[in-house]
């Protein structure tokens, strides 16, 4: 049998791992939902519903809640394969539809925050040169990582919304309303990115190959751009999955602070209402997103760092 090229084997292995992660998430979620105290039918109807026991029984049969746990689990996995995440207990619509409606808003927020975070990190690493500059930048980064997102959001809102009136205080669809939430979400992530990037760049410029390049007469700016950043990028890309995960978690808080619609708000509402199909759908979605990013990270790292590629080929 002909051997697959390295990257294809890597991709196949990665996709296998991705399936395991999503299946694991779905299974853990299914088990967890069964541990939730209370009857789902009662939760669905709300505490004030005046409904007879026989109607509740009918709903149970419709939902398949009368069947054995194993049957329910297999039916659930089967539906999952066809992309069916079930119906919300509360919202009278399917989970896929709920997610579809709110996804664009969260996507807009997280994408803007990611771009902003990368820009902030690059600016911090490239502009803060020298011992003092780097020390000041590191201190600022440490503060940005330590401050809770929901608090920085409130501070930005107080100063730039209520105080200076530069940005709208209430959520709206105007681009200006995106600035403060995206900045709030970007600050801690940009700070982590900057820390990792700086460490990678400094580490690279101390290595023997950097000495060789300098001896060859490569200038400082070119050293930084061509060799330093490339090395820094390897360590920055390596934590990509973690960063995307932080963005998703942070979105819950940022959307609440700024009263923005989105998946984070839906998740919070679903958790408070014990709307388990929606919670489960969001759990599977976030696991899928993070696992996909991790897979992409592995593939990109192979391209960025030849040592990984060659090490794997040996």
């Amino acid at each position: 049998m002909r051997r697959l090229p390295g990257w294809a084997a890597e991709l196949l292995r990665g996709l296998g791992g991705l399936l395991v992660v999503v299946w694991g998430a779905a299974t853990l979620g299914f088990l967890a939902v069964r541990l939730v105290p209370g009857d789902p039918v009662d939760t669905m109807l709300g505490i004030h519903a005046q409904v007879g026991e026989h109607i509740k029984e009918q709903i149970r049969i419709d939902l398949g809640l009368d069947r054995s746990p194993l049957e329910q689990y297999l039916a659930y996995l089967g539906r999952l394969l066809t992309g069916d995440l079930g119906r919300s207990y509360q919202l009278n619509t399917t989970v896929v539809e709920v997610i579809g409606q709110q996804l664009p808003s969260t996507l807009q927020l997280t994408a803007a925050a990611m771009v902003l975070a990368i820009a902030l990190a690059l600016a911090s690493v490239l502009l803060a040169r020298g011992r003092v500059g780097a020390a000041v930048a590191s201190t600022l980064e440490l503060v940005a990582v330590s401050a809770p997102t929901f608090w920085t959001g409130l501070l930005l809102l107080t100063v730039f919304g209520f105080g200076l009136g530069w940005f709208p205080v209430l959520s709206s669809s105007s681009p200006a309303a995106l600035v403060l939430p995206a900045l709030t979400l970007a600050l801690p992530i940009g700070a982590i990115l900057a820390q990792v990037l700086r460490e990678g760049v400094t580490g690279a410029l101390d290595q023997p190959f950097a000495q060789t390049a300098r001896a060859r007469g490569v200038g400082a700016a070119r050293m930084l751009g061509r060799h330093g950043l490339r090395h820094g990028a390897v360590s920055a890309v390596a934590i990509g999955g973690y960063l995307v995960g932080s963005l998703l978690g942070g979105a819950v808080l940022v959307e609440t602070v700024f009263a923005r619609p989105g998946l984070g708000r839906v998740a919070l509402r679903a958790i408070l209402d014990r709307d388990m199909p929606v919670v489960l759908g969001l759990v599977i979605l976030s696991a899928l997103v993070v696992a996909t990013v991790n897979l992409l990270v592995d593939l990109v790292l192979r391209r960025l760092d030849p040592r990984i590629r060659l090490g794997a080929a040996r």
């Binding site: 992660v21 998430a25 853990l28 967890a32 809770p148 995960g245 978690g249 998740a267 759990v283």
Partner: protein, 268 residues
């Protein structure tokens, strides 16, 4: 250690000391009652009588922030200790057991790490129910994989050490070897992680309380005071400002101390 590092370290330890005093006896630092309302004196800006101002019910914000230390620190310490112990047990077992157990545990850890830590804590709170205890349990479960991973890596390298092999050859049992020779070697990096972890746990706990999933009003809790502040942002900025500073300073102090612990461990 440079002079600057020394000063930073002293400040961090002083902050930690103040936090411990505030957690044990907040009235030693500031005598006002965190629950006493005064409708006439609502939304008073910071002054000598109320250095952090008053909130919508006229309660003293400084007294509330100080009183909130106990719950925040308690939840942070409890969650981190539990995560450390469980992570250590899983990680050492995984590193010491045969290949089968190890690969199952490693896979399980991988699946759990695919969830963003904050979302995971959020979902676990939804399952076990809101409240400070639910929050502590959720945060510790969400943090276990990170500790287990470090403990496993440490165990794998400690296993190869000469004295561990010698103990096994001399007929010392696996559990005893793990406890006497592997755990001490793994403990250093874990403790450094845990020190920083306490700060992170405090942020997560405050975030969950802010979302309404932790302690309930009128309990003084940093996240809850921030939520009060959010509802009156245009009118009284001080309600949200001071609990946020308390959280940030606490996290900074734990980071500084944690980094020092890590340097010690790496130097040893």
């Amino acid at each position: 250690m440079s002079a600057v590092q020394r000063v930073v370290m002293v400040v961090a330890i002083a902050v930690a000391a103040v936090l411990v005093i505030a957690a044990i006896a907040p009235t030693l630092l500031w005598p006002l009652d965190p629950l006493a309302t005064d409708p006439g004196g609502a939304f008073a800006p910071p002054s000598a009588a109320h250095p952090f101002g008053t909130d919508q019910s006229g309660r003293d914000v400084l007294a509330r922030v100080l009183a909130g230390t106990r719950l925040s620190l308690g939840v942070g310490l409890a969650a981190t200790t539990a995560a450390l112990v469980v992570g250590l047990a899983i990680g050492t077992a995984s590193g010491f057991a045969g290949r089968g157990v190890d690969s199952v545990l490693t896979r399980a850890i991988e699946v759990i790490t695919a969830f963003p830590e904050f979302l995971l804590a959020l979902v676990i709170v939804a399952i076990i129910g809101p409240g400070p205890i639910g929050v502590a349990v959720a945060i510790s479960i969400a943090a276990v994989p990170a500790y287990a991973r470090v403990a496993r890596a440490g165990t794998l390298s400690a296993r190869r050490a000469g004295h561990v092999t010698a103990a096994r050859v001399l007929g010392v049992g696996a559990v005893r070897t793990a406890w006497r020779h592997v755990v001490p070697a793994v403990m250093g990096p874990l403790l450094a992680m845990a020190t920083i972890g306490v700060g992170m746990a405090i942020v997560t706990a405050a975030g969950l309380a802010f979302l309404g999933l932790g302690a309930q009003p009128p309990t003084p809790e940093w996240g809850l005071i921030l939520d009060d502040g959010r509802n009156h942002l245009g009118r009284a900025w001080w309600i949200a400002l001071f609990p946020g500073i308390a959280i940030t300073v606490t996290v900074l102090a734990t980071s500084v101390i944690g980094r020092a612990v890590r340097r010690r461990v790496e130097a040893a």
